[in-house]
C-alpha cells in the first residue's frame, strides 16, 4: 500500500495505491490519526488504484468518520472500483459515507 497526499487550500487529497488489508491498513490509520489532518475542511480519498479492501481497511474509515463529522470535516471517496465499492455496500457503508464517481463531483460536493 502506497499512500500519497496533495494539499489544495483547505482540502487534502489522499491517494491510495494498492491493497488495504489487516497488514497494510496500519499506515492508513497513522495517516488519518495525524493531528494535522484536523486542520483541513475536506478530505478527498482517490480510490482509483485501490485494488482491494478488507474489514481492517474499512475499520480505519469507520473509526475516524464520527471524529471528522464532529469537526465538520467532509470525507469523500471517489474513483472507486466497482469491486471495492461492493465491499462498502455489503455492510451498508455506502449509506453512511460519501462515495462519488470522480474528482469533479468530489470537489463540487466538498464545496457545498
Amino acid at each position: 500500500m502506497k499512500i500519497t497526499h496533495e494539499i489544495k487550500d483547505t482540502t487534502i487529497i489522499i491517494t491510495l495505491d494498492g491493497e488495504l488489508d489487516a497488514s497494510s491498513s496500519v499506515i492508513l490509520d497513522e495517516e488519518l490519526s495525524d493531528p494535522e489532518i484536523m486542520t483541513y475542511s475536506k478530505i478527498l480519498v482517490d480510490c482509483e488504484s485501490l485494488n482491494y479492501i478488507s474489514s481492517a481497511g474499512l475499520g480505519v474509515f469507520i473509526s475516524h468518520l464520527q471524529r471528522f463529522e464532529d469537526a465538520q470535516i467532509k470525507l469523500i471517496f471517489y474513483n472507486m472500483q466497482d469491486k471495492v465499492r461492493n465491499v462498502f455496500e455489503i455492510l451498508g457503508l455506502d449509506l453512511l459515507m460519501t462515495i462519488v464517481s470522480d474528482y469533479e463531483e468530489a470537489m463540487t460536493i466538498a464545496d457545498e
Binding site: D21, A22, S23, Y52, A56, G59, V60, Q66, K83, I90
Partner: protein, 136 residues
Amino acid sequence: MNNTITVSCTKKNLKPIRDFVTDYLAGFTLSDILMNQIVLAVDEICANLIIHANQEDPSKSISLNVSEKSGMLRFEITDNGVAFRRSEYKEPNIEEHVRIGKKGGVGIALVNRIMDKVEFETAGNKNTCLLYKKIK
C-alpha cells in the same frame, strides 16, 4: 494440482493467501465482484486466525485447502490456536461502530453475508473453519 497452502501466522502472509485463492479461482468464470468477495471472505477468516487465534506468533501456522464439486466451492482453513466461539458472536451494528469509533469487528459479518455456509469445528486442539460458496 496443489490445492493447499500453509503459512506462518504473520499478517504479511495474508497477501500470499489471497494470491493463492485468486489463482485457484482463475480456473472458473467469475465476475470481478464475485471473485473479490470470495477472496475477501477467505482473507477475513485467515486474518482473524492469524491475529486473534494465534496472536501473530510466527512459530504457528494456518493451512487453507480449496476444492470444488458440482459448482460448490469449499474452503477449509485449519489452525491450532484459540477456537472461535460462535455462541459469543454478535452481528455488528455499523452505525454504532461509527458513533463510538470502533475499528474492528465487521470481518465475520462480511464472511456471513458473502458465503452460502460458514462452519466452525474444533476437535482436540485443531480448529477447522469451512466456507462454502455456490458458483454455478
